[in-house]
Symmetry: C2
Subunit: 199 residues, 2 copies
DNA sequence: ATTATTTTTGAATCAATATTCATTAAAGAT
DNA sequence: ATCTTTAATGAATATTGATTCAAAAATAAT
């Protein structure tokens, strides 16, 4: 018997994240990924069924990570809804903060993933938005948030805004600090841009 | 002499928008576009240099349209900054309201376009964000908007949120009305989600 | 009606690259 | 040391689809 040597499986995924981020899924060559992972082209197929399987793997891991962390915030009954919103925003940025390439892939390939027809990703994604919606609902129930906000629009609004800022940040992490981004997002989300003269 | 018959040029673009929206740029076949435009495959190359030229054309037209309309709002000195924000949001949704496929392409292929290395699109895009930034600045100068908001984060925040909602709407236009979306966006943007207890 | 010019056509070409697979290498078992 | 089993390799294969181009069709001019 011979054991698999090293961390090829992980090496390949990590290389793939970088290559997908740089070239985009469709322009990323398996041979480039293999080279970056210090592995032969054929070896990629020992560990993954095909190219899309690699992408799916990246997203699976990512979503699972996001959920796990989101759930901790969501389930914490000590927190007020507005604090939850803040922590959730922080959390998302935190997940990506060490890995800009992953953020780029997450944002850019979302639609590919859905088009490839793997329904589990729709589910992940729905579940994720449900968290956002639940917090808003809780805030409204507690009389803390304004009830005129449409829940469905809200959850996509926040998702879209964050997703995009993640992308902007990831394309050039030195340009704007992730701290500055997340604090502005939280601020905008809770209070909007206007000075408040009304109740 | 023989004249070009019909509106092949336009037919091809319109078919391409639909096909790109359905399959994504990379999975869209020229032959499919040709078929949908009632034209032979080769004819596509009479009117457009190649596949990316078609995509560029779509974006060129779109950005020009967006600018033109944005400028009218931006230049109107009768309007208060908050009114401008509202009108700008309306305007963007309006541009796409008759053509969901166009919205899908706009959102999904943005990164492709940038990766294809055509710098004019970066310029379009920067200029577009500058409008948003200018309005915020004006509002702050007039004491209407809060000055803590980071301009750079703001402009990407709003762009990302709208872009994404456009996408959600376009994927299933019957699901949420575009009116409901834009009014919620305006509301969220100006006032945030919290009831206001502070100044 | 014939000719000249331009458009349209779609099958053939060509390039790119994902995937396969026969071969080689390594590790453990005997 | 030899054998067995699994891992790793990368050149060869196969597919896909963008692009080309020689031929056909349409129109206008003569």
């Amino acid at each position: 018997m011979r054991l698999k040597e090293g961390h090829k499986e992980k090496d390949i995924i990590e290389a793939a994240v970088k290559v997908f981020a740089e070239f985009g899924y469709h322009n990323a060559k398996i041979s480039t990924i293999a080279k970056k992972a210090n592995v032969a082209t054929g070896s990629v197929y020992v560990y993954y069924k095909n190219k899309e399987d690699i992408l799916f793997n990246i997203f699976d891991t990512l979503w699972q990570d996001l959920f796990e962390k989101l759930k901790i915030v969501s389930d914490n009954n000590e927190l007020q809804p507005d604090e939850k919103v803040e922590l959730m925003v922080d959390m998302v940025f935190e997940v990506f903060s060490g890995n800009p390439s992953l953020a780029v892939v997450f944002v850019n390939e979302q639609n590919n993933i859905i088009r490839l027809g793997e329904y589990r990703f729709n589910d992940y994604y729905e579940k994720f938005l449900d968290f956002a919606e639940a917090v808003l609902k809780e805030g409204i129930a507690k009389g803390l948030f304004r009830k005129e906000i449409d829940l469905n629009v809200f959850r996509n609004f926040i998702f879209g805004a964050i997703r995009y800022l993640l992308h902007v940040w990831a394309e050039d992490p030195k340009k704007i600090g992730i701290k500055k981004i997340s604090s502005t997002v939280k601020n905008l989300l809770l209070h909007g841009i206007m000075k408040h003269t009304r109740n």
